[in-house]
Amino acid sequence: MYTQALDSPGKDPVAATGEAAERFQARVDADEKIEPKDWMPEAYRQTLIRQISQHAHSEIVGMLPEGNWITRAPSLRRKAVLIAKVQDEGGHGMYLYSAAETLGVSRAQMVEQLLSGAAKYSSIFNYPTLTWADVGAIGWLVDGAAIMNQVPICRCSYGPYARAMVRICREESFHQRQGFEIMMTLARGGAAQKAMAQDALDRWWWPSVMMFGPSDADSKHTAQSMRWKIKRFSNDELRQKFIDVTVPQAHFLGLTLPDAHLRLDEVSGHYEIGPIDWSEFHAVLKGNGPCNRERLEARRAAHAAGEWVREAAAAHARKLEDRAATAQHQERGSP
């Protein structure tokens, strides 16, 4: 899943100048991939570190809302599929941390930034999963929005990020289909199940629409990121694409979107939505969403409770190394 926080308030990166910067931009313009050892402007490096690490953190925090239903999944098949999905998210976090590490930041530093609250992750995971239908809604809407965001990143100018994203997108589209299938089963089930599906759509629709970040007029980083081909489409273009794909899916499910203003513009062929409540978005981004505290606390608690385990693994590895060194020394010393 993707983070929209790239567009969170911050400094607009300053474009580098000079011959190296010009050569760099020419390579980007020619659609060449930039690799870890290549020269790159410092602002490009920092923008990528921030975006990739936020993306990785989103995957890790994203394990929590869905993980909340692993022990209560309503069938063994659903339980297995959900475990596999949450596991995939952990795997995505791992590739993304590795991709960010190629830019000169360590995983330990990135985790520290997440736990201290300095780094952002996608705000969508600060919403609670209150019923089983939320697991379906996350797959359908949140992963659906993530795919819109992430498919263009498969062509990102930075090679390691682009390559990680190819694999991630394949898995995300599988998750999206599974989520839709959960929603379809509920929508075709009994009245209580259908109500559960509608309630989940009511709660997840607007946060999903907001996942694309502020509208283009208010988005600070878009222009430079586009020149660097880190970003290929604007927030509003991606949001519109998501809405156009998702509204007919909701109709197919027989569910109602929670937007009285929603209408199809016959001329453009696009759906128009009502006004987005950005105060909600900013409140959650600032840390005041329904689960901001709980999500960060869960990550901190797991990290703190695991500290003695990580120390044990490191201590054991050192012992093995020492023993191997001693054995080698003795071997060399023997006649």
């Binding site: 890790i60 394990m63 929590l64 993980g67 692993i70 022990t71 209560r72 999944a73 309503p74 069938s75 063994l76 098949r77 659903r78 339980k79 297995a80 475990i83 596999a84 949450v86 596991q87 952990g90 795997g91 976090g93 791992m94 941390y97 089983w132 959960i182 089963t185 089930g189 009994g190 209580a192 199940q193 869960a298 608690a301 797991a302 409770a305 695991g306 500290e307 003695w308 385990v309 990580r310 120390e311 044990a312 693994a313 201590a315 054991h316 012992k319």
Partner: protein, 258 residues
């Protein structure tokens, strides 16, 4: 064989398969509680792998038990609509996760047991069970590498990890007696060439466990032969709580499809 004897034998067969199925299911359910909260990302992925394999084993075994029983119960009816006393998992499987040392120790003791069981069952007289066991054996070899590797890391790690690992071994050891104590169902299935001689599997399990404890610099606790009977449906207080959570949706919406 008359009809009554045949019915008795089928019932023993179903019970025997359910013991294996329920042990994997309950253990997989416990591991599922960890996902997202493990000590490191690698362990989140590793524990999720184990949970997935165990749930997969449970599904194959429950479906088979349902077919043998012939009352139309599928894997979900058996997993979600039985009460605690009808679950036949060994008592060790339902023990709470505790700290990482407890989870690893529980896993290691059961992995070493499942290795013996599946190895024996892979060549048993019931071809369906033999095929499931052969698949599960491959998975269990990996599980055992994971759990015994961690037991060694914790035991031979820091003073704190060693203390925690020894505490977990001391705490959980009492449930191992049940693993090798045959009852009438085991004996009956053994007579048909399906079940191995449980008591005869113990020495090999014991050797493996002793070797791991030695490498982990941990001490084997004295035998504590209290007769736990999870596999006969007499559980600790933990199981009904686990089931309340696991079965919540199926119980709330009877007959719904998910």
């Amino acid at each position: 064989m008359n009809a009554d004897a045949r019915a008795d034998e089928t019932q023993a067969h179903v019970r025997y398969v359910l013991r294996l199925a329920d042990t994997s299911l309950i253990l997989g359910q416990r591991l599922g509680e960890w996902i997202g909260h493990a000590p490191a990302l690698e362990e989140d992925l590793g524990l999720a792998n184990l949970a997935l394999d165990l749930i997969g084993q449970a599904r194959l075994l429950l479906s088979y038990a349902g077919e043998l029983e012939g009352r139309g119960r599928d894997e979900d009816a058996l997993a979600f609509l039985r009460e605690a006393p009808q679950f036949l998992s060994v008592t060790l499987a339902e023990q709470p996760n505790g700290d990482f040392a407890h989870t690893i120790t529980r896993q290691w003791l059961l992995d070493a047991w499942q290795l013996e069981m599946y190895q024996a069952l892979a060549g048993c007289a019931d071809p369906r069970l033999a095929a499931i066991a052969a698949k599960a054996l491959k998975e269990t070899r990996y599980h055992y590498r994971f759990s015994s590797g961690w037991l060694v890391r914790l035991g031979d790690g820091t003073p704190e990890s060693r203390r925690r690992a020894q505490a977990a071994v001391d705490e959980l050891w009492r449930f191992t007696h049940e693993l090798f104590s045959p009852d009438e169902t085991d004996e009956r299935m053994r007579a048909t060439g399906i079940a191995p001689d449980l008591a005869a599997l113990e020495p090999s399990w014991s050797r493996r466990v002793d070797e791991d404890l030695r490498v982990a610099t941990l001490t084997r606790p004295a035998a504590q032969p209290y007769a736990w009977h999870g596999k006969r449906g007499v559980h600790t207080e933990h199981l009904s709580h686990l089931l309340t959570e696991m079965q919540h949706l199926q119980r709330t919406y009877p007959g719904a499809s998910w």
